[in-house]
């Protein structure tokens, strides 16, 4: 763990509120990129991510007890997600659920789920893992996912692959399930660590 972050964490768990307030700046600077990148997995919207993260930091300031004895970045991210981010994500989507047909439990699972197999993997590790998995796919499957990840619409992907939008959606669905199986396999081989 970065020395700056370790120091910030130590000050953040001080008993008086003013010291904790002063510790927030180095803490935010050291963790912002990691936390907002993680929130983006669930929200996909930068403005929403910032709003949620603002509350998350204030919650941490108010009650930093869960952050005592943090050893590394992965443990920090896991703790912050489980004790601070999830609560805020649930609040956002509890509000949204007033106009949605999804049950409260399904909404929660969709927007603030339990940590999955690859949820604590860093951005770089994730890219590497995904690249390895994509290499194992058939050319057409791989093309569909890569085009999707470039930001293309399903209609544009359908044009590229010379097929229908419906066929693209089915192809994406099957390929995603295939990737999920590969991820499970990868986790089994690496002893539960994605």
């Amino acid at each position: 763990m970065d020395k700056r972050l370790r120091n910030a964490l130590q000050q953040l768990t001080a008993s008086d509120t003013e010291s904790r307030r002063r510790a927030m700046e180095p803490f935010v600077r050291a963790t912002f990129a990691m936390f907002i990148g993680h929130l983006h997995r669930y929200l996909g919207n930068e403005v929403e991510c910032e709003d949620v993260l603002e509350d998350v930091y204030a919650d941490i300031w108010e009650n930093p007890d869960h952050l005592r004895n943090i050893e590394d970045d992965r443990q920090l991210l896991r703790t912050v997600y489980l004790y601070y981010m999830r609560k805020r994500l649930r609040e956002v989507y509890r509000r949204l659920n007033r106009r949605s047909c999804l049950s409260q439990a399904d909404m929660q699972n969709l927007m603030a789920p339990d940590l999955g197999l690859a949820d604590l993997v860093s951005q770089e590790e994730l890219k590497e893992l995904l690249r390895t998995m994509l290499d194992k796919l058939k050319a057409r499957e791989r093309k569909a996912i890569e085009l999707w990840m470039e930001g293309m619409s399903n209609r544009a992907i359908a044009n590229q692959l010379e097929t229908t939008v419906g066929a693209v959606k089915m192809l994406e669905f099957r390929t995603i399930l295939k990737l999920r199986e590969m991820l499970k396999e990868h986790c089994r081989e690496s002893g539960g660590q994605a």
Partner: protein, 108 residues
């Protein structure tokens, strides 16, 4: 019978729902996706193990493809927002500790 068939076709199949969810997550418009769900589709999602398993990969793809592109031009500005939130909470906490004495004064 014909009406029933038309009604059934009006709802998206699970692969379409996943594709639409994935696109909404990627494009930052999940609320629109949520609002678009019919009761039947919501039920379909709730009952589909495949859908739930697939969402993890969708999040992973979203993160690998777009997570690193999330940038805030001025972290300093964000820090001042966080600080303002903290100050507001501090004031609230101070106000709530003053409340009992206020009510005591009022009672007299």
């Amino acid at each position: 019978m014909g009406t029933v068939l038309i009604m059934a076709n009006a709802h998206r199949e699970i692969q379409e729902l996943l594709a639409d969810y994935a696109a909404s997550l990627r494009d930052g418009s999940v609320p629109t996706f949520l609002k678009s769900l019919t009761k039947e589709e919501a039920k379909r999602i709730g009952e589909s193990k495949d859908f739930w398993e697939a969402t993890e990969i969708v999040r992973m793809m979203n993160s690998a493809g777009f997570g690193a592109k999330v940038v805030t031009p001025d972290v300093g500005l964000f820090i001042s927002r966080v600080d303002a939130g903290i100050v507001s909470r501090m004031k609230k906490a101070q106000a709530s500790t003053r409340d009992p004495s206020r009510s005591h004064v009022n009672l007299q």
